[in-house]
C-alpha cells in the first residue's frame, strides 16, 4: 500500500450558531502513516477534538465540515454517504472518548455493548461475538474476561472501564484509532499504565493512533509526531523530540514553559498571558498575536503563511529564525 493511511487537506469545520460562524477547525492539513502515533495538542477550544470527530463524520450539529478533504486509505470521507461512513466507523476507524463513565451505557452489561459493536459489522452469532469480546478484553489486561462480560460498567473501576472502551475500539482490528483525551479522567498511575499499553497495542497490531490531549507531557511519552493546534489551526508540527526540545512557535514554547516540571521549585509557574481568543472574533492577523511576546506590527495585520515542509511553524517570527 503506497501513500499515507490518512491525508487531511485544508479541513474546515464550522459551527453555524446564532451569534455567528464559529470556525472551530480552519484549514487543518496533516498526513498519517500506517502504524504511526500522532499527538494532537492544544488548549480547550483549540479545535483538536472537533478535528478528531470530523475525521469520522461525528461532529455535533450545528457543526459541519464546510471544506477540505479527508482521504482515508485512498477513499474520500468528506461528503461520503452516512451509511458508508457507518461501515467504516468501528471497523476501520475506531474512537475512544474522554470519560468512560459517560461513554459506556450504564444499564447494559459490557458483554451486550461489545456484542452490539461486533455485530454492527459482522453477521456472526451471539456466541462468537461474545468470544471475540472476551478475547479482546483479555488483550487489554482485564482478568477473567469471560466472566466479566456479564458485569455492568459501574462494577468496574475508572481505569478498567477505559480498558473496556479501548477493547471495544480494538474489536475489529481497525487501521486507525482516534483517542480523545482518553486518560484525562483517570488517576495519574492508571494514566501511565494505559499510555504504555496503548502504545504497545498500537505498535503490535500496526494500528495508527491519533492521540488528542491538552497535556504535552503525555503526548511526549507516546507519540512519534506532534501537531500543536491553536484557534482551529495547526501552528506547529514535527517529530515529537524536535518539537519539544526546540519548539519553533512561541505558543508551543509557552505551553512547554507552563509545564510544572519545567519550573524550578518554589518559583511561580510560567503562564501564557491572556486567554484563548473567541473563535467568533479572531484578530485579522495571527490569532496568537495578542498573547505573543514576539509579536510585531505584521503579526497584527497579516496572517502568517505556512513555511517549510516537514517541520512546520505557522509564525512570522519562528524561534529558530530569531
Amino acid at each position: 500500500m503506497s501513500g499515507p493511511l490518512l491525508s487531511v487537506r485544508d479541513l474546515r469545520t464550522h459551527f453555524l450558531t446564532r451569534a455567528g460562524v464559529v470556525k472551530a477547525v480552519e484549514g487543518v492539513s496533516f498526513a498519517l502513516d500506517r502504524g504511526e502515533i500522532l499527538g494532537l495538542v492544544g488548549e480547550s477550544g483549540s479545535g483538536k477534538s472537533v478535528t478528531g470527530f470530523s475525521l469520522i463524520g461525528l461532529v455535533d450539529p450545528p457543526g459541519h465540515i464546510v471544506g477540505g478533504s479527508i482521504r482515508f486509505d485512498g477513499q474520500e470521507l468528506v461528503g461520503l454517504p452516512v451509511q458508508e461512513l457507518r461501515r467504516l466507523r468501528g471497523r476501520r476507524i475506531a474512537m475512544v472518548f474522554q470519560d468512560p463513565a459517560a461513554t459506556l451505557n450504564p444499564v447494559l452489561t459490557i458483554g451486550t455493548q461489545m456484542t452490539l459493536a461486533v455485530r454492527a459489522h459482522d453477521g456472526v452469532s451471539e456466541r462468537a461475538a461474545r468470544d471475540l469480546a472476551a478475547r479482546t478484553l483479555t488483550r487489554v489486561g482485564i482478568p477473567e474476561a469471560a466472566a466479566r462480560l456479564d458485569a455492568y460498567p459501574h462494577e468496574f473501576s475508572g481505569g478498567m472501564r477505559q480498558r473496556v472502551a479501548i477493547a471495544t475500539a480494538l474489536l475489529h482490528g481497525p487501521d486507525l484509532i482516534i483517542a480523545d483525551e482518553p486518560t484525562t479522567a483517570l488517576d495519574v498511575s492508571i494514566q501511565a499504565q494505559i499510555l504504555a499499553e496503548m502504545r504497545a497495542l498500537a505498535k503490535e497490531s500496526g494500528t495508527a493512533l491519533i492521540w488528542i490531549s491538552h497535556d504535552l507531557a503525555t503526548v511526549s511519552s507516546l507519540a512519534d509526531r506532534v501537531l500543536v493546534m491553536y484557534a482551529g489551526r495547526i501552528v506547529e508540527s514535527g517529530p515529537v523530540g524536535a518539537v519539544l526540545r526546540a519548539p519553533l512557535h512561541p505558543y508551543t514554547r509557552g505551553l512547554l514553559d507552563s509545564l510544572p516540571a519545567m519550573a524550578a521549585p518554589g518559583q511561580r509557574l510560567n503562564q501564557i498571558p491572556g486567554s484563548t481568543p473567541s473563535l467568533l472574533s479572531l484578530p485579522p492577523g495571527c490569532p496568537f498575536a495578542p498573547r505573543c511576546p514576539r509579536a510585531t506590527e505584521i503579526c497584527r495585520t497579516d496572517p502568517p503563511r505556512v513555511e517549510p515542509p516537514g517541520r512546520l511553524a505557522l509564525c512570522h517570527h519562528p524561534l529558530e529564525a530569531a
Partner: protein, 325 residues
C-alpha cells in the same frame, strides 16, 4: 436486593394504614348515613336499634378499630343499600375496569413511546411537529367530548364498532373478560381508545424529552463511533436509558385509570367500578365508599411497589448488594 424488597413492603404497609385512617375519617365526616337508611317516619326505637346494629353509636376510634380488625380478615363490610359484601360487589365490577384501564395504558405506551422516540430523534421534522400537535390535543381536549365524538364517528356514522356496553365475556378463573374474543375486543376498542388519548400524549412527551437528552450523550456518540446503526442505537441503547420515567408514568396512569375511569365508563355504559362508586356516593353507602377507596389505595400501593421493583431490573445501579470491583 432482599433488603430493598422488605423496606418497600414495610413502606407499603404504612401507606395503607395511613390511607385507611384518612378514608375512614373523611367518609365519617360527610353526614349521617342513618337518615338514608331508614324512612323518616320510623319511630325513635327503630332508629336507635338501627344505629346500634350498624355500630354507629360507638366513638369514632372504636368504629375505626373494628373496621381495621375486619379489614385484616379480608372483610370490607356489607353495603347498606344492597346488603351484599362490599368485596363481592367491587370484585364483580373490577375485572371490567381492570381490562379497560390496562388496554388504554398499553395502547398509550405501545403507540406513544415509538412516536415520542421518533419526535425526540428528529425534533425538527414535519412528522415530529405533527406528533407533538397530537400530544397537545391529547392533553387539552376533554375526555368526555372525545368519547362522544368517537361514538358519533365510529358507532353512529360509520357503524364499525358498538357504541357502548361490554358485550359478551369469556369466563377465565371465575371472572368474565372481554379481550379474549373478537366481539369483546370490538366493545373494548372505543372506551379504551378514549381513555388512552391522555396517556398517549403523556408517553409521547416523556419519550421525546428523554430521547432528546440521551441522543446528545457520549453513550450515543460512542455507539455511533462503533458503527452501530441508528435503529440499533434507538432500540437497544436509548429505549433502555429512558425507560425509568416511562415505567413510572405507566404505573401511575394505570392506577389512576383504575380508580377514576368513571367519565369514560359512564359515556360508554361500561359496567366498571367507576359507576359503582358514583352510585354509592349518591346513596351515602358508606361501607362501599370506604371499601372501594381502601381497595383503590391497595391497588395503587401494589402498582407502585411493582414499579419500584422494576427500577432495580431496569437500572443495575439501583440493585443493592451487587458486586462491585
Amino acid at each position: 436486593m432482599l433488603g430493598y424488597v422488605i423496606q418497600r413492603l414495610l413502606q407499603a404497609a404504612l401507606v395503607m394504614l395511613a390511607m385507611s385512617a384518612l378514608v375512614f375519617v373523611g367518609v365519617y365526616a360527610i353526614g349521617n348515613p342513618i337518615d338514608v337508611l331508614i324512612s323518616p317516619d320510623a319511630t325513635q326505637d327503630i332508629r336507635a336499634a338501627a344505629i346500634r346494629y350498624y355500630g354507629l353509636d360507638l366513638p369514632l376510634w372504636q368504629q375505626y378499630l373494628a373496621f381495621l380488625g375486619r379489614l385484616l380478615q379480608g372483610d370490607l363490610g356489607r353495603s347498606f343499600v344492597l346488603n351484599m359484601p362490599v368485596l363481592d360487589l367491587v370484585m364483580s365490577r373490577l375485572p371490567a375496569t381492570l381490562e379497560l384501564a390496562l388496554a388504554s395504558v398499553l395502547i398509550g405506551a405501545f403507540i406513544g413511546i415509538p412516536l415520542g422516540i421518533y419526535a425526540g430523534y428528529r425534533p425538527n421534522s414535519p412528522l415530529s411537529r405533527g406528533i407533538m400537535a397530537v400530544s397537545v390535543l391529547g392533553f387539552s381536549v376533554p375526555t368526555f367530548w372525545v368519547g362522544l365524538i368517537l361514538i358519533l364517528t365510529f358507532a353512529v356514522n360509520l357503524g364499525w364498532l358498538p357504541a357502548g356496553n361490554r358485550g359478551p365475556t369469556v369466563e377465565v378463573l371465575g371472572v368474565g373478560w372481554s379481550f379474549l374474543t373478537w366481539e369483546g375486543l370490538q366493545y373494548l376498542a372505543l372506551p379504551a381508545l378514549n381513555l388512552s388519548l391522555f396517556k398517549l400524549a403523556m408517553m409521547i412527551r416523556l419519550a421525546r424529552a428523554g430521547t432528546r437528552e440521551v441522543m446528545l450523550s457520549d453513550t450515543v456518540k460512542f455507539a455511533r463511533a462503533a458503527g452501530l446503526s441508528e435503529l440499533t442505537i434507538l432500540r437497544r441503547h436509548v429505549l433502555r436509558l429512558i425507560s425509568i420515567p416511562l415505567v413510572t408514568v405507566f404505573g401511575l396512569e394505570f392506577g389512576s385509570t383504575l380508580a377514576f375511569a368513571v367519565v369514560t365508563e359512564t359515556i360508554f355504559s361500561w359496567p366498571g367500578v367507576g359507576k359503582l362508586i358514583i352510585d354509592s356516593i349518591t346513596s351515602l353507602d358508606r361501607p362501599v365508599m370506604v371499601g372501594y377507596l381502601v381497595l383503590v389505595a391497595f391497588l395503587f400501593v401494589t402498582i407502585n411497589l411493582i414499579v419500584d421493583l422494576s427500577y432495580a431490573l431496569l437500572d443495575p445501579r439501583l440493585r443493592r448488594g451487587g458486586r462491585t470491583a
